[in-house]
Symmetry: C2
């Protein structure tokens, strides 16, 4: 069992996933329920020990690489953003370092870009994208990482040319929990018809202002019994995702690669299909493949 070559952690705001990686870049073991940086704040070293200590006891000290919000101002140490367009080589040049106990830890920087004079940033998604590229052998494509903040990234020749953040998930949560739109909602059971209706209505809206109007249908459809209370959450979710996908996939020429948990990936895959776009799903462990690719290029393993 001495073929462990690298330990990679995808350490985000609310969760942490750790991977023990073997000589061929394959995942030997994983621990997916670590604490996010909000919980671990001020105690990152001890939390790291608790997550990977048994691996080191068994396999000896392997190099460690961290990606995600752990490299932000609120994380363990700030790793300044690398600038798009950026390939794995640019990430390697910008790696930050942390010393902790006997370990030498590399910290993956996030990426920054600018679209229409708007700055944008990501931390952690770049590692997942480089991993997905390594696993598929492809070098181009449109990558979607949905979630609280969806990231859509354009890749050419193994470099991330640019990307855009859509606040869809967080906006949905704020509208559902903290506006009148949640008032008539009943339950969380999925409603595919209501979701599809939202997708089509959201994609068909002609302006951003029309979204501020149409979201009120989440209330009025309920008031006049045009949608059941159990359908309203999925209608609103579809409306926002439909608006997002129509904008972000506008110029997509081939299948969109989705990097997400199966449930969330299915949701966006459905949305893309309803709007005439194909999609493929990246393997769930692709972040570990990204850690491996970056660490190899940096000569860490």
């Amino acid at each position: 069992m001495s073929d462990a070559k690298l330990i990679g952690l995808d350490w985000g705001t609310t969760s942490c996933r750790a991977y023990l990686i073997g000589a061929d870049g394959g995942v030997l073991d994983r621990q997916l329920d670590g604490p996010g940086i909000l919980k671990a704040e001020g105690h990152f070293g001890p939390w790291l020990d608790s997550m990977i200590g048994s691996w080191i006891a068994t396999h000896g000290a392997a190099p460690v690489i961290l990606s995600g919000m752990i490299g932000s101002r609120q994380g363990w140490k700030e790793a300044p953003y690398a600038t798009c367009p950026a390939g794995a080589g640019d990430i390697v040049t910008a790696l930050a370092r942390i010393e902790w106990a006997e370990l030498t830890i590399a910290l993956v920087p996030g990426l920054s870009t600018e679209n229409d004079a708007m700055p944008d940033v990501m931390r952690g998604e770049e590692t997942q994208i480089f991993g997905a590229l390594a696993l598929s052998g492809e070098s181009d494509g449109l990558f979607l990482l949905p979630g609280t903040h969806s990231k859509w990234a354009e890749v050419r020749g193994n470099r991330i040319l640019s990307f855009r953040t859509f606040m869809t998930g967080e906006v949905f949560g704020a509208l559902k929990e903290h506006t009148i739109l949640g008032r008539l909602m009943r339950g969380d059971a999925p409603d595919a018809d209501a979701f599809a209706r939202g997708i089509h209505e959201g994609a068909a809206l002609g302006s951003p202002g029309a979204l501020l109007n149409r979201m009120f249908a989440t209330r009025t459809y309920g008031l006049v019994d045009r949608l059941a209370g159990t359908a309203l959450a999925d209608y609103l979710s579809g409306l926002l995702i439909g608006a997002e996908v129509a904008e972000a996939a506008r110029h997509a020429k081939s299948a969109v690669t989705i990097i997400a948990s199966p449930v969330l990936a299915q949701r966006y895959s459905d949305a893309l299909r309803l709007l005439g776009h194909a999609s493929t799903l990246a393997p769930e462990d692709c972040v570990a493949a990204g850690h491996w690719r970056i660490a190899r290029a940096a000569g860490l393993c």
Copy 2:
């Protein structure tokens, strides 16, 4: 002092304004700090007494007319919606009645309409619009009642043809208080430049999805010090209002009539001006003129 002819109450979700109205429809006295229906729930009669009791003691019992959410399912009694297009005569036909102590109380129904297969509703704004029409002597126009939920109503020949609700104010509050966008905001001091920047950016967005992307600039402008923390709230407010106004005033051919408190009216007047539209401000007491107009047409006074 026996020239008091009517008592009108604009009784909404979070506030209540009461007016003592004279023989010519003019306001003799007003009380603007009554409790909204959320606070008065279950005790509407006693709250009414406390607001208008001294007027009745002085002037004798005048007829009472109520408008606003007091006529909703959550109010004193539900007054079913009248349907657009609707003039003051249609409101009169649909008035509901409440008996309380010695008083006979008329309850103004709300209005419902439908745009692009989306139902929409208002309660209380119709009375303000009919009052503004009565005071100005005009019979056509685009009326804007901004707030938590902005209402834009199209009037022809003294009838409300249709209207649309925009959730701008409530969405702003939810984003500011309950998403990452509030994190870097500092203070509430107005920032006219940031507001204007938001207005122009919001109006220029090409799709609803682009709004879900651009609102993230509230964070990234702060991260890269392109806007000060004190400017971020007004930037986001401008972004949403700019999107709303660009959509809602798209077909406006003459000045938009704004019915609002002076501060809020100024904000929307600025937004309209920045986007090339003129506006006029309706008198603050126009809801009382609406009460007078409807009560006269109904033969109540």
